[in-house]
Symmetry: C2
Subunit: 198 residues, 2 copies
């Protein structure tokens, strides 16, 4: 007999849809959320509020609450656009403090097998931004996956005729990387991308 009340079962089913949450973690989370009433209600509220208040910037498609934290910042370098797959990728790049330009979020990658072409992404908007002038370089910072690579190459073909410089973020060994622990794709990339030393 299943001793879980229907509402608890429903909660656990919803929790299990979250990425990385299996049946056991769902039990632990449900137990916590049933004990901590205030926490549960606060989580419930933040979920609704995030959807009520947050939208995509209509220019760069970062998540924005009101004004865009990048496009509406007069201090950013408007000659460089860094193209990423998802807003979270831009958050990570921004956290390095190394990039002061603008972003463009594709909201996905090309994936013909799943029927995702350029029209399903924000590609046309990126082309518009480059065509509007003032952009000197587009950095392609899509992931090092089959889809991310294909998307980067597609965008290079599309943007090169517009007379803008395109570059790809460097892949290689991570900081502190042990050569014998690196996977072969990373190691191959690191070899091909080797740089001269004096």
């Amino acid at each position: 007999m299943d001793l879980r009340p229907p509402s608890v079962r429903a909660l656990m089913e919803e929790l299990q849809k979250l990425p990385g949450v299996g049946p056991r973690s769902a039990v632990r989370m449900a137990q916590y959320l049933l004990k901590e009433r205030e926490e549960a209600l606060r989580l419930s509220q933040t979920l609704v509020q995030a959807h009520e208040r947050v939208g995509f910037c209509s220019t760069c498609f970062l998540l924005a609450e009101g004004s865009c934290p990048v496009c509406d910042d007069p201090g950013r370098d408007r000659t460089v656009i860094c193209v990423v797959e998802e807003p979270v990728n831009a958050w990570a790049i921004e956290a390095t403090g190394e990039f002061k330009g603008l972003y463009h979020v594709l909201l996905g990658t090309l994936d013909p097998l799943r029927g995702i072409g350029p029209e399903e992404l924000t590609v046309a908007k990126l082309v518009d931004r480059v065509a509007a002038g003032g952009v000197q370089e587009v950095i392609l910072a899509t992931n090092l996956t089959v889809e991310g690579e294909a998307t980067a190459h597609f965008l290079v073909q599309l943007l090169r005729p517009k007379g803008v410089k395109t570059s790809r973020i460097a892949f290689g060994l991570p900081a502190g990387g042990e050569i014998s622990y690196a996977d072969t794709v990373t190691l191959a990339r690191a070899l091909v991308a080797r740089r001269g030393m004096e």
Copy 2:
């Protein structure tokens, strides 16, 4: 610069309070929940509904929505009470199909260092149930932790004078258990609890 809108930051902070969720999983969960609007709103609703509809059974302290799935079931064996720490423990025991008696959820364990004594648990209610008569055996199924063991021993001292049989759930090697992989506590327990073979 932190590119996360305030509502997204709030959502990620709430997610990180869940057991087993660190900064990276919180990012992945937030990304999913921001993309899947319907899922996010459904999760929000199930959280509220679980707290609105679910309460503790006033006899055994299992989670109940309306009637208690065990206490209000006339088919259960009312001579045996299985004592557990939390409702989830009873769910696991029930899933074995081996137990047809009643439960009693302590809602915690004795933990003097944190100021948790018998008054903070449902101990008095358990004593009342036994004193009311009809109960022949109390199975102590608290966890094999310092606190769970101490709680079991405390309850045995308390219940023995009431003329009720007390027993402890057996600990030993898990099914399919490899002796060389077992931790020392489990192995020691399994040795002490050895049974005669013919």
